[in-house]
């Protein structure tokens, strides 16, 4: 009990100290920093080119896919964490169950891999027709709305990320 409390209290104290420190650093720099107002100060930096359009880009599909994969696989990890800490208690049965669990996950990963959902760069010259279909599918899974008749045409999916 007291050990717990002590640990938590120490943590709390540390937390407060860290926040205070960071705040102090920011405050110091705010006080010490110079103030200037030049013609181009208020413009976004785009390598010296005059900024065009909105900065709220439509981001490319794989980012979204990664987000989903993260959510899914991180939860998988959570279950494995639970197994790992009880590893000795759960014994052989637990191990077998975990192996089944992992194998299913690996199968899922293989499925995604094969479908091209894990590929960020797609070189269509390298793909056979069948692979390309699979790749398109992966795109569909994540980035809906590619050309659909009757709807506004898509801007080409952010090319600068696929260089």
């Amino acid at each position: 009990m007291s050990g717990d409390t002590e640990n938590l209290a120490g943590l709390l104290l540390y937390f407060l100290a860290v926040i205070g420190l960071v705040a102090l650093i920011l405050l110091l720099s705010h006080l010490l920093g110079q103030r200037r107002r030049d013609k181009a100060t208020g413009e976004p930096f785009e390598s010296g080119v005059v900024s065009v359009g909105d900065a709220q880009l439509r981001f490319s599909a794989p980012f979204f896919l990664v987000a989903i994969f993260f959510v899914i696989f991180d939860l998988e990890a959570v279950f494995l964490f639970a197994w790992v800490i009880g590893f000795r208690e759960s014994g052989m049965a637990g191990f077998i169950e975990a192996v089944i669990f992992i194998v299913i996950l690996l199968t899922g990963l293989a499925y995604l891999w094969k479908l091209g959902a894990l590929d960020w760069r797609r070189d269509s010259r390298r793909l056979s027709g069948r692979e390309r279909r699979a790749a398109d599918l992966a795109d569909d899974l994540a980035a809906p709305g590619s050309p659909t008749p009757g709807l506004a045409p898509e801007p080409p999916a952010s090319t600068q990320e696929r260089q």
Partner: protein, 102 residues
């Protein structure tokens, strides 16, 4: 653990749950509806953890893991649909979901 009475925990969970519920009902933006849903689910998870603490069992915590998983799965699919929806209608307002009626 610091001993907090279960009722307080449940009350907090109920409060969160109601907040989420109200959010689901009155929000027009689908993103916020999904977020409200998450709040509800997590409130349920909190209630489980609180209850598990009362009975000093791990069952409630296992349940919480399941709730987390569920929430993650929901949010994954929900966001996918959300993106679809946005590409189609350029808005996230609930009212675009009103083509089906009869």
């Amino acid at each position: 653990m610091l001993n907090i009475p279960m009722e307080h925990g449940l009350l907090l969970a109920a409060l969160l749950f109601s907040l989420g519920f109200i959010g689901v009902l009155i929000r027009r933006n689908i993103l916020f509806v999904l977020m409200s849903l998450e709040i509800m689910l997590n409130a349920a998870g909190l209630a489980f953890v609180v209850a598990a603490a009362r009975w000093e069992q791990a069952d409630g915590q296992i349940m919480f893991l399941m709730v987390l998983t569920l929430a993650a799965a929901e949010v994954a699919v929900g966001l996918a649909l959300l993106v679809q929806l946005y590409r189609r209608y350029q808005t996230l307002d609930m009212d675009v979901l009103s083509q089906l009626r009869g």
